[in-house]
């Protein structure tokens, strides 16, 4: 059975070009870039090329890019560095809808005595900018607000936040793991101090990420040891994956327009197709300010894990904000922060596309999904409705 992979916000298919670029560094070119001999030293030069590609994708200077092991490491490093470099200030502002890599780190800092403001979002998943501005005070050391939300795709006004913070002595970090490669991200225009990105969300392999740190920003390393990455991130480089990330960044830049146009067209077709066939369903998150590849739809009166397993029978991969599919008993913190009723949260399904998603795949999902919704509603003691699909 052909897999229809619509879970690209979870992870993406490594691009064939990426694997080709990586292959020599897993076979013949296994030298240590720190070595004095040519065999190792040549690897160093290739790492610097990869750094240039990553920098170009977000319009940064190569010297501002630190390679890490993942998005979580980038986030943790950024937050820890901000705290270490501002020991006198004890206030951090973030949002209630951050990824756990930021949210749980803030909880951790909160337990250690920091004061954390978790900004709420409205029912469309948008920030109240007035409340944000009011939350900033003399004691604020750091603002960490994501570029785009992984569950709903909602994009935050990162540029506006950066402008507001520009003439204040406050560090601004953004978790841009979901935004980079999907929408234009430009750190010259959008003056963030630190920005996290992750390889496996942009068709590079898992286990590689990067942290952008604006030149002149005080920085404290998280991993301490050797002099790698100019002593900003110790540990022998994950050479092959760095090369892979470089290639993926190059491809992402080349495909950026396509990502925005054809991917969003397919996403819109999927969304309209499903809403037309499934009553009591609705999109979560503001559709005016959203990633081009993401749609999050609540199918009321049925439970997300059950939907996912029925989709799985047809080879369709998606994800859900329901409690049962999260591994915990709590449903999505993002949808709950938006005040989505429980009936909607438990039945929420996220479809996230990539440039590899085809129109046929979208039509297959539109053909299969209404039947699943109907069957599960017939099982449910709550929703009784008939599906009317214009065929």
């Amino acid at each position: 059975m052909n897999v229809v992979y619509l879970d690209n916000n979870a992870t993406t298919r490594p691009a064939p070009e990426v694997l080709d670029a990586m292959n020599p560094f897993l076979t013949d070119c296994y030298g240590n870039p720190s070595s004095m001999h040519t065999f190792g030293g040549q690897v160093h030069r290739r790492i610097e090329e990869a750094r240039e590609h990553v920098a170009r994708l977000i319009n940064a200077d190569p010297g501002e890019i630190i390679f890490t092991s993942c998005g979580t490491e980038s986030d943790n490093t950024a937050l820890m560095s901000a705290v270490e470099s501002n020991p006198r200030k004890r206030h951090i502002i973030t949002t209630r809808v951050e990824h756990p890599a930021v949210l749980n780190f803030c909880h951790h800092l909160g337990r250690k005595g920091h004061r954390i403001t978790y900004l709420p979002v409205d029912s469309r998943g948008l920030l109240d900018m007035n409340l944000f501005r009011k939350s900033v005070d003399e004691d604020t050391a750091l603002v960490s607000i994501m570029y785009a939300n992984n569950e709903t795709g909602v994009i935050f006004p990162v540029g506006e936040i950066a402008d507001f913070l520009a003439d204040r002595d406050i560090l601004f970090h953004t978790d841009a793991v979901q935004a980079v490669g999907k929408i234009p991200v430009d750190v010259r225009m959008t003056k963030v101090d630190m920005l996290s990105l992750s390889g496996h969300k942009i068709h590079a392999p898992k286990g590689i990420g990067a942290l952008y740190v604006r030149k002149g920003t005080r920085f404290y390393p998280y991993l301490i040891g050797g002099h790698q990455e100019h002593s900003r991130r110790a540990g022998t480089e994950n050479v092959a994956s760095i090369i892979g990330l470089g290639k993926a960044a190059e491809l992402a830049l080349a495909h950026l327009e396509e990502e925005r146009l054809s991917v969003s067209r397919r996403r819109d077709r999927l969304e309209q197709g499903l809403l037309a066939c499934c009553p009591n369903a609705g999109v979560n998150g503001d559709s005016g300010s959203r990633l081009p590849n993401t749609t999050n739809i609540s199918f009321e009166y049925i439970e997300g894990e059950a939907i996912l397993l029925r989709l799985d029978e047809h080879g369709i991969c998606a994800s859900s904000g329901s409690a049962c599919s999260s591994g915990s008993l709590e449903p999505s913190h993002v949808l709950r922060a938006m005040g989505i009723p429980y009936t909607g949260v438990h039945g929420s399904i996220r479809f996230s596309l990539s440039r590899y998603t085809t129109g046929d795949e979208i039509e297959r999902v539109i053909a299969i999904m209404p039947g699943i919704v109907k069957e599960l509603r017939q099982l449910s003691p709550f929703g009784r409705d008939t599906i009317t699909c214009p065929k």
Binding site: Y301, I302, E303, G304, E305, A306, L309, R310, E313, S322, A323, C324, S325, G327, S328, L329, E330, P331, Y342, T343, H346, Q378, L379, S380, P381, F382
Partner: protein, 277 residues
């Protein structure tokens, strides 16, 4: 992804006995849409024989909730009400070839729906509505339910209680309350478990083993209608006899292993527990 057995997957994809019984003799409803799972069980009951002639269900929930509901309806058909009440949530899970630990609460929901339906038929108050201090506010779980499920399934840790009842799985604030309920229930002196540094004399060892069996082992077994008797102690070998419901129980090996673990933990690591033959 959950590790569901083939039987769970098959039952979820093709559940049996779905729907309502229009003139049902008994209806049992548990859970809520807020909690993320809910089950409505319908029974037809033969008034003469007291046997369940038909069972149907409607379930809002995940794959294991739907599979557990289907299994429940299959299992109760043809049984008298008293026979049906003998079913435990473990039986539902076993029927499905087991459920992932974190999904055991789905089998508990099945058992509760059955109890609710039969109480409804007999005109008794719903077990859920009985007095009880709410411990877990996120999922509205009472102390009584935690004690009941802990006894029925011999649960000793907070994580197990969460797996079986969801209690403690939300904000987590009640986890210390659950811990003290468990400590009280099993009379465990958890933090003060004595570390045996001195070698025990034989007499001390025998007295300690007797004490552990009396206070730590028997209450749990008796709650399930079983019992255990200490027959003899020879060196590090403890010979016991299972009594009551434990006699001939398929799980007796597991029970004996559990008793051995408990004695090893509290008396000495080299103890071997054997059944009296």
């Amino acid at each position: 992804m959950w590790e569901y057995t083939d039987k769970v997957k098959e039952t979820f994809l093709r559940p049996k006995n779905v729907g309502e019984i229009a003139d049902a003799d008994a209806v049992g409803e548990v859970g809520s849409i807020i909690c993320g799972d809910a089950l409505k069980l319908y029974l037809s009951i033969d008034k003469e024989t007291g046997r369940i002639t038909d069972a149907k269900f409607q379930t809002f929930g995940c794959a294991s909730a739907i599979a557990s509901s289907s299994a429940l309806t299959e299992m109760v058909k043809g049984k008298t009400l008293d026979e049906a009440l003998q079913l435990s949530n473990r039986d539902i899970a076993d029927y499905l070839g087991g459920l992932p630990d974190q999904k055991m609460h789905c089998s508990v929901m099945g058992k509760e729906a059955l109890e609710a339906a039969i109480a409804n038929y007999r005109g008794e108050p719903l077990p859920e509505k009985e007095e009880g201090r709410v411990i877990c506010k996120c999922f509205d779980i009472t102390e009584e339910k935690i004690r009941k499920v802990a006894l029925e399934n011999r649960l000793t840790t907070v994580d197990e209680i969460t797996n079986f009842t969801k209690a403690g799985g939300g904000c987590g604030e009640c986890r210390s309350d659950i811990e003290s309920i468990l400590r009280d229930l099993w009379a465990l002196k958890l933090p003060q478990t004595p570390v045996q540094t001195k070698k025990l004399t034989n007499l001390q060892k025998i007295a300690l083993i007797q004490d552990v069996i009396e206070t730590q082992v028997r209450p749990g077994l008796q709650a399930d209608g079983g019992d255990v008797e200490l027959v003899d102690i020879e060196g590090n070998k403890v010979i016991i006899a299972l009594r009551g419901m434990c006699t001939g129980c398929m799980m007796s090996d597991v029970t004996i292993k559990g008793i051995q673990d408990k004695i090893r933990e509290l008396v000495s690591g080299d103890i071997i527990v054997e059944a009296h033959s």
